[in-house]
């Protein structure tokens, strides 16, 4: 197809032109999705760790729920957040609809279960190794969770990355709660959706290529941190 070559050329030209609108969209994408990832980690990691080391009734049900929530459709999350943040919704008075904050909230809800479920697995594996030693040292549950989270930090980076990847790539939630408003809530994915609906497939694809490159960059940065850690046997 000629439009892939065309899109690649356009992507390069767009980047080289230093288009301020493009920069704005890219920065907003990163700001929204990175913030959502950080908040989702603050929520998801402790939950994942507690479920990993916990032996309680209903644990299996929690595991199933956590794994099922990983498949939350973005558009459903968007709709739920919309209904809450809408002026006619319970949190409408906050005036958050059609702001980046609303997009952060939606993406956080979308990826917190991913962070919790994946970190649960990582921490459970590590705990299998540490459990006896930690019990012998008479660690409290909080100390155990803290130590596991810290020692699994490089593996958990990958978990955060999985969450970030899902956040930065989703369009269904942010387009509903953000509204794709130019210069306010337009991010890479909603811009791509917009250009597609305008039939400007080459520009849409060019933006897609730029998004892919950004994702590659973030992944490469994390991977290099992990490799440094692996050399020190910290992974």
């Amino acid at each position: 197809m000629q439009s892939i070559g065309e899109a690649l050329g356009l992507a390069i030209a767009l980047v080289l032109s230093g288009d301020p609108d493009l920069l704005e969209i890219v920065l907003l994408s990163l700001r929204v999705s990175l913030t959502a990832t950080v908040i989702a980690c603050m929520i998801g990691l402790p939950i994942g760790a507690l479920v990993a080391i916990g032996r309680f009734r209903g644990r299996n049900a929690v595991l199933i729920l956590m794994n099922a929530l990983m498949g939350l459709p973005p558009v459903v999350v968007g709709l739920l957040v919309y209904l809450y943040l809408s002026r006619s919704g319970p949190l409408g008075f906050l005036g958050l609809l059609y702001t980046p904050t609303a997009m952060i909230i939606a993406q956080t809800i979308l990826i917190a279960p991913i962070v919790a479920a994946l970190s649960r697995q990582v921490i459970e594996d590590l705990h299998a190794e540490y459990a006896e030693q930690f019990r012998s040292l008479c660690l409290t549950r909080l100390q155990t969770v803290q130590a596991l989270l810290w020692d699994a930090r490089y593996s958990l980076l990958t978990v955060g990355l999985a969450g970030f990847g899902r956040a930065v790539a989703e369009v269904g939630a942010v387009i509903i709660v953000g509204g794709n408003i130019d210069h306010l809530t337009r991010v890479m994915t909603t811009a791509i959706a917009l250009e597609t609906s305008k039939g400007d497939l080459a520009l849409a694809l060019a933006l897609g290529i730029i998004l892919l490159v950004i994702a590659l960059g973030v992944n490469a940065a994390v991977q290099s941190v992990r490799m440094t850690a692996a050399r020190q046997a910290y992974v």
Binding site: Y130, E132, R135, C138, A147, W150, A233, Y234
Partner: protein, 245 residues
């Protein structure tokens, strides 16, 4: 941060001697330890010996409180194992080291036990690892890793130190280095309970020997009596290098 045991009523009561009364452990339907009754004295080093599968490591873990016996009673001067666990330390055959630096491994226990962090360098120096403080713990050699595990155990200032085959698969120099550290602890009054297959080590270290055979105590003798003249057939065969089934 205070450890749990310090808040219990028995915090200062003596925990030795330890007595085991009719202790049994059943795993997967079969008894792996049965009718174990022992009293281990206030001081010195006890070696727990026996062939593979005799139940040595399980006995050690039960005494420490990591495993609960199926029946019978273990008393540390009147207290249950779980109540005094914090006054004991266990060094595993394969050291479980945190994914951190050598120094951070010691810092970690000092911090969680609420102890003076300034002791760290002295502890590392004591086990000959001060020059490796900043190195990743998991890149240490087998002998160094076990010395770090020992230093970490000693950092908790235990009254009882359990060692589960601490020198298995280490070279002779490393074995001697570890024995020196353990002997030093013992001379400072730490009660040593050691599982080992190494006859030479048992001879060098032990004051008394508990010999397990098929989950039962075949004999419990002083080291002076055990090595020249074991009382049980199983121990005799073991010392003579015969396969005991």
């Amino acid at each position: 941060m205070k450890s749990d045991a310090e808040d219990t009523p028995t915090a200062d009561a003596p925990i030795l001697p330890v007595t085991l009364q009719g202790v049994a452990l059943r795993l997967g339907g079969a008894f792996v330890l049965e009718d174990v009754s022992l009293e281990l004295g206030q001081t010195g080093c006890t070696a727990i010996m026996g062939s593979n599968g005799a139940g040595k490591s399980l006995l050690l873990r039960m005494m420490h409180g990591l495993i609960a016996p199926t029946s019978g009673d273990i008393r540390w001067g009147g207290a249950a194992p779980s109540e005094v666990m914090a006054r004991q330390a266990l060094v595993f055959q394969k050291p479980v080291l945190l994914r951190r630096s050598v120094a951070a491994n010691i810092d970690f226990v000092l911090k969680v036990r609420g102890q003076d962090r300034a002791q760290r360098d002295a502890l590392l120096d004591h086990v000959g690892l001060l020059h490796k403080s900043a190195q990743p713990a998991r890149l240490l050699s087998g002998g160094e890793a076990q010395r770090l595990a020992l230093a970490r155990a000693l950092a908790t200032e235990p009254e009882v130190l359990f060692l589960d085959e601490p020198t298995a698969s280490l070279d002779p120099a490393s074995v001697l280095a570890i024995e020196r550290i353990v002997s030093d602890a013992r001379s400072r009054g730490v009660r040593i309970i050691l599982v080992t297959h190494d006859l030479g080590q048992a001879r060098r270290m032990a004051d008394d020997v508990v010999f397990l055979h098929k989950g039962r105590v075949a004999e419990h003798s002083t080291a002076q009596a055990f090595f020249p003249d074991p009382q049980s057939d199983a121990a005799r065969d073991y010392l003579n290098g015969r396969l005991v089934v």
